[in-house]
Amino acid sequence: MPDRPHPILIGVAALVYLFLMLPLVIVVGAALSDTTYLTFPPQGLSLRWFENIFEISAFRRTIVTSLQIALMGTLIALLIGIPAAYALNRFRIELPKWLGTLFVLPILVPEIVFGFALLKSFTVGTGAPIFLSLLIGHTLIVLPYVVRVISASLASFDFSIEEAAISLGSAPAKTFFTIVLPNVRAGVIAAFILAFITSLNDVSVSLFLTGPGISTLPIQILAHVEQFFDPTVASVSVLLMFLTVAVMAVVERTLGLTFLAK
């Protein structure tokens, strides 16, 4: 088989990429339109629909909630996920195999089932506040990404460096922070970003864990689309896309983007 793919294959791949990119271009175009309805190509350029996002209090409020939940959920997941990933690699022989599988469960079971179960058994069962339930739900759905990405980094870490430090008299905890963690820095950054974006975009878990006054941005977008069909949603979408681009640019700067494809 020649190394260069057949022209028909290249043509198909080009069409697939067109199929992937075009809808996103259309959303950007629709967001910039000066009309009161959604249209493409944009008729007249205007940023007024972006201003409109911040004039609707539900959007203002849910953007804040979403960012809070994504940041707090990701940090908690890192806090409990890094030690778990470390333990899985460092004590590979001592710990049972199923423990690794356990941390993948939150993305293995249907997210929508998890959201419903959390609402039924935890929120309603214990009367816990919605915000807390939302935070727990998001922490758990990003935990698998944290554990897996950091485990992948630790897999190529030579633990004999750590042993050397300890046998030379460094305290285990100090060794972890000064020797192990700096070596998997790239993994921690990647895990943070992946987790943050996953939480920010989540629908299925948040769907059940919203209540009076508390909702997340994707849920608010869903509700808005079903009532009004104006370009506000397109501009919020563009805002979210820009956030993604910004985050990807940071990754590109620090790690190179092919890192995310792993």
């Binding site: 199929f19 992937l20 959303v27 935890f122 935990l143 769907l207 494809a261």
Partner: protein, 282 residues
């Protein structure tokens, strides 16, 4: 035996370090889901009563089969186009390859709501596709494309093709080129090389991709909700509607149990098959 040795031998430190995450998954995920599923078996009407009433309802069985059908069609389309695209990406020169990978990662990092919404603009009654078709004179009146099974499938394929491409690029890259060259230099036609060498070697990757896409589209909520509406109710939208609109908690729990069992069964079965037929593992 020093204290440190003792700890290491028992793996107690390992348990202690993984305890918070372990307890979080058990306490907030396993127990709640277990409770939901267990709850469906202690129905006052009888052990399997919720399931009997689920499968006695023509509407609900239709929803189950529709969901399975949409997931199966989405998986097949994603497999075909994802494989071709991944092959081209895996053979692209360095710079272009990373650009193509980034272009596949980007939609994945864009939220599902945004991506479903894009198709709402395209497929709507006054959407771009209808406007184009009208302008070209292909149809005389706008076509009803939204709220059809086709719309849901297009939205789902859009959601999952990047995932398929990314999970196959790695697999295809790892197939040694020598193997393919050996096949063609021994006289196999490109088509024979594809069917007898490339495809069998890619099967484990295809299975992983298919499982990801199937379970993802089987449980997706936002896309069928926006593009399918009530006319294309699937299990996820039915679960939400039962729980949050009708407050039928037993009905919702039954749907949750059915979704969980089907998803886990498929994941376990396919990973078992993938392990058994992996031709690279000897």
């Amino acid at each position: 035996m020093t204290a440190r040795r003792f700890w290491r031998r028992n793996g107690a430190t390992g348990w202690a370090l993984s305890a918070p995450a372990t307890l979080a998954v058990i306490g907030f995920l396993l127990i709640p889901i277990g409770a939901v599923i267990a709850g469906t078996f202690i129905d006052p009407r009888g052990v399997f009563a919720p399931y009997i009433s689920y499968f006695n309802s023509g509407f609900r069985t239709t929803v189950l089969f529709r969901t399975l059908q949409i997931a199966a069609i989405t998986t097949i389309i994603s497999l075909i186009f994802g494989f071709m695209t991944a092959y081209v990406v895996s053979r692209a020169p360095g710079k272009l390859k990373s650009l193509l990978i980034v272009a596949a990662v980007f939609p994945l990092l864009t939220g599902v709501v945004v991506r479903a919404f894009a198709w709402l603009i395209i497929l709507g009654r006054n959407g771009i596709l209808n406007q184009t078709l009208l302008a070209l004179g292909i149809t005389s009146e706008p076509l009803e494309m939204l709220y059809t099974q086709g719309a849901v499938i297009v939205g789902m394929v859009y959601l999952f093709v990047p995932l398929m491409v990314l999970s196959l690029v790695g697999v295809l890259e790892n197939i040694p080129r020598d193997v393919l060259q050996a096949s063609s230099s021994l006289g196999a036609s490109p088509l024979a090389t594809f069917w007898q060498v490339l495809l069998p070697l890619a099967v484990p990757g295809l299975i992983v991709g298919a499982v990801l896409v199937f379970t993802g589209s089987f449980t997706a909520y936002a896309t069928p909700q926006l593009l399918g509406g009530e006319r294309q109710t699937v299990l996820a939208t039915l679960l939400h509607q039962r729980a949050m609109v009708s407050f039928d908690w037993v009905g919702a729990s039954t749907i949750a149990a059915i979704m969980t069992v089907i998803t886990i069964t498929i994941v376990l079965a396919m990973s078992h098959i993938a392990r058994r037929i992996n031709p690279m593992a000897t």
